[in-house]
């Protein structure tokens, strides 16, 4: 079947090679447009002044951080169920990008919180669960880095991923409840009231750029992983000869 055809590393490798430039280019263009909107078209917020412009990276990064984790878990599940090498590779190549976006969400959140709330950090439900998500990413990466044997490390990482993805919603709701049950602090997440259309567009375009970027980066990483693992096969050997 078609799907099986593309799931073979030997076909996937060149295909990914052809797709990467397109995704990279799209990411660059969308970022340029998004930045233009965020700095030159979006009006000043009447409550938060110019500080709110952080939203144009904060929100896309936060979205990506959660989304990538789910996608990773998806590939892990497929890998464990059908033992397809490619899905493990995909899961693995997404992790660093996901961790990076989580970090960016945390960082920009902190840099937003300082002017808006007067504190770099508060133990709000959303913030706390994002922090824990970061720990989960780091955990998966640390585990995979600690195991030399690729097969073992793929499987171990995938198992951890699945356990994590079941837990993330539980963690989120528990944290949320924890916070609201004894809400002692005066600060709470102030939302930009009704976002102007143009701001929404800016955010969406930036989010799309983040998507394209993630896909491109993950594909590049996947390609490196693939040739490393398939080095005994004929197609990699001939590839190594072709490109000096």
């Amino acid at each position: 079947m078609n799907l099986y055809y593309y799931a073979s590393p030997a076909t996937f490798y060149p295909l990914a090679g052809r797709l990467i430039p397109w995704f990279a280019a799209l990411a660059a263009i969308l970022t340029a447009v998004g930045l233009y909107i965020s700095f030159f078209m979006a009006p000043t917020d009447f409550q938060q002044g110019e500080g709110y412009r952080i939203i144009f990276i904060h929100v896309p990064a936060a979205w990506m951080s959660m989304f990538i984790y789910v996608v990773m878990a998806f590939w892990s599940a497929i890998g464990l169920a059908w033992n397809t090498r490619l899905s493990f590779v995909m899961a693995r190549s997404l992790a660093p990008t996901g961790a990076m976006f989580t970090f960016v969400a945390l960082w920009t959140g902190a840099f937003w919180g300082k002017p808006m709330w007067g504190a770099w950090w508060v133990w709000d439900a959303r913030l706390t669960s994002e922090l824990i998500l970061f720990f989960l990413y780091v955990g998966v990466m640390a585990l995979q880095a600690a195991i030399d044997d690729p097969r073992r490390s793929d499987r171990a990482g995938a198992l951890l991923n699945l356990v994590g993805v079941i837990n993330v919603p539980i963690i989120y709701f528990s944290v949320k409840w924890w916070n609201t049950l004894h809400q002692g602090s005066s600060v709470s997440l102030t939302r930009a009231p009704s976002m102007a259309h143009i701001m929404l567009w800016g955010m969406l375009i930036m989010a799309l750029a983040a998507w394209m970027y993630s896909i491109a980066v993950a594909l590049v990483r996947a390609r490196s992983l693939i040739i490393e693992r398939e080095r005994q096969t004929d197609w990699v050997r001939s590839l190594l000869e072709e490109k000096p």
Partner: protein, 205 residues
Amino acid sequence: MLSAHDLACERGDRLLFRNLGFELQSGEALMVRGGNGHGKTSLLRILCGLSTPAAGEVRWRNQPIRQAHEQFGREMAYIGHNNGIKDDLTPIENLRLAAALGGRSLDQAQATHALGQVGLARCLDIPARVLSFGQRRRVALAGLMTAGALLWILDEPLTGLDVHGVAMVEQLIRDHVVAGGLAIMTTHQALALDGVTPKTLSVGD
């Protein structure tokens, strides 16, 4: 009964062996030969189902061993470079626990008897931790004797044993095979099983 088809094993950057296959029937022994680092241990671990081969499969009574987990577990016994005994327990407790985990029952007297046979009559109730290198190996061998398994997979059973120990192991394996058992082993020393000629299999370059 045990057959291996087209096995291949990769470790790190190296292909240790490939297209390796054999068949072993009741009453036969197989000696795996090869120098240091040629992949004997790796092969044995594949055969007992602890690691998965890069290609090929192992069958027991014509079923892949992954599927026959329960039956294979009951009929196979493995001794690796590690003895698989708990340092904090005495030899007797070690044997009895191992039996219980394998679903067999072994009473005090039987365990004592087995340990006596491997020459540990004086070390029944000191913790295994203080035993000497060779004595620890002997505890593992006593465990093998009481396991009542049909297939023995032994990775260098002679290491650390003195001359009496070596003679004892030879006798043990011979009796097992003559009684219809299967044995797969590796060793770098001479191993004389009089009356039984093991098949041999060379691993690695």
